[in-house]
Amino acid sequence: MENSGSPGRNQYEMKNLLYNKYFQFALRFIIGATFIYASVAKLFHPAEFAKAILRYDMLPVFLVNIQAVIMPWLEFFIGLLLILGIFKKGTSLLASISLIVFLIALTSASVRGLDISCGCFSLEETSSKGDILFRIIQDIFMLLGTVIIYLFSGKPKTDGTNPPAEQV
């Protein structure tokens, strides 16, 4: 009797998928491209991005410009390295940290009822609370992706257990 639906086997297949190099590449490509896309508008317009950061009203003013200068380039290189598959562990962890920071900023803005635009992808000063909510959800999914890359990039760990034998 076929028993492919057993929990042990499903878990194994799931793990196999997470370690699968094509799946890993797809994930890295999607998240990397999103990071690069998000950075492009800001790379050469730090003053505009500084305004967007100021609208969050979270950082001390003297730190705003330095963040506006460095953050976009950090995003850009995280994206690039993710796509190229260089320093996978390091970049995916860095991406996770950035996403957690964004998530805190977005949630805090949302909770405080700030009517601001996200400043995530474009720097236009449109204001819509829906935008922030959408970005929070998107951020959570991307965070999940970066955690998967961090945990499952590279070769599966051999912990001595063989995959559950297929019962015929």
């Binding site: 003013v61 003297f62 410009n65 290189f77 320093f87």
Partner: protein
């Protein structure tokens, strides 16, 4: 440990590139922002909505935009405004007056600003001063500026205009220098 090294390497590399690009970028910013230059004015009425000013309308009844009170000398003192409010007023057709000399004005001025040089204005009699200003409405919003920094002719001119009974005179201390830095419209009369 390896991961930590990777993170440090990526961070430092990005920061170095970012600082280099910022240094050569004409739109680069100073690394330390001393004060929030984009902050909305809280002292003056900056929520100006759809209001459109017409400084040339001399028929409207006097109204007060900045909400100052008449001082002991009987005029409403000019208000200092930030670049943010200055731009909002600019977008709503406030009258911008360049208080510098004609030569300076011709070199570069805020687009559509008129030139009333304080050096020329000050020696005039009260009647002559009123004559210069008669084409402008007393309740229209006026923004006076000069070079920015420590220049004072904008303050001096603003007070002289306010003394003529203009109710809504303001001083944009950032002046042409800050205005240009922010990328707002400027023009020149030089060929």
């Amino acid at each position: 440990m390896k991961v930590f090294k990777q993170i440090t390497a990526v961070f430092i590399f990005s920061a170095v590139i970012a600082l280099i690009v910022n240094a050569v970028n004409p739109n680069g910013v100073p690394l330390i922002m001393e004060k929030n230059i984009y902050k909305q004015d809280t002292t003056s009425k900056s929520n100006i909505g759809d209001f459109i000013n017409d400084p040339y309308d001399t028929t409207t009844k006097p109204s007060q935009f900045f909400g100052g009170k008449k001082n002991k000398q009987g005029f409403i003192e000019p208000e200092n405004i930030s670049s943010v409010l200055a731009k909002q007023l600019y977008d709503r057709k406030a009258l911008f007056i360049d208080a510098r000399t004609k030569a300076e004005y011709d070199t570069l001025h805020i687009k559509d600003a008129v030139n009333i040089s304080y050096m020329d204005f000050y020696p005039k009699s009260a009647a002559e001063r009123a004559d210069v200003m008669k084409k402008f409405g007393k309740s229209g919003i006026i923004v006076v500026y000069c070079n920015g920094g420590t220049c004072e002719v904008s303050i001096d001119l603003a007070y002289e205009i306010a003394k003529l009974g203009f109710n809504n005179v303001s001083i944009y201390k950032g002046g042409i220098t800050e205005w240009k830095t922010l990328g707002h419209p400027v023009e020149t009369n030089m060929k």
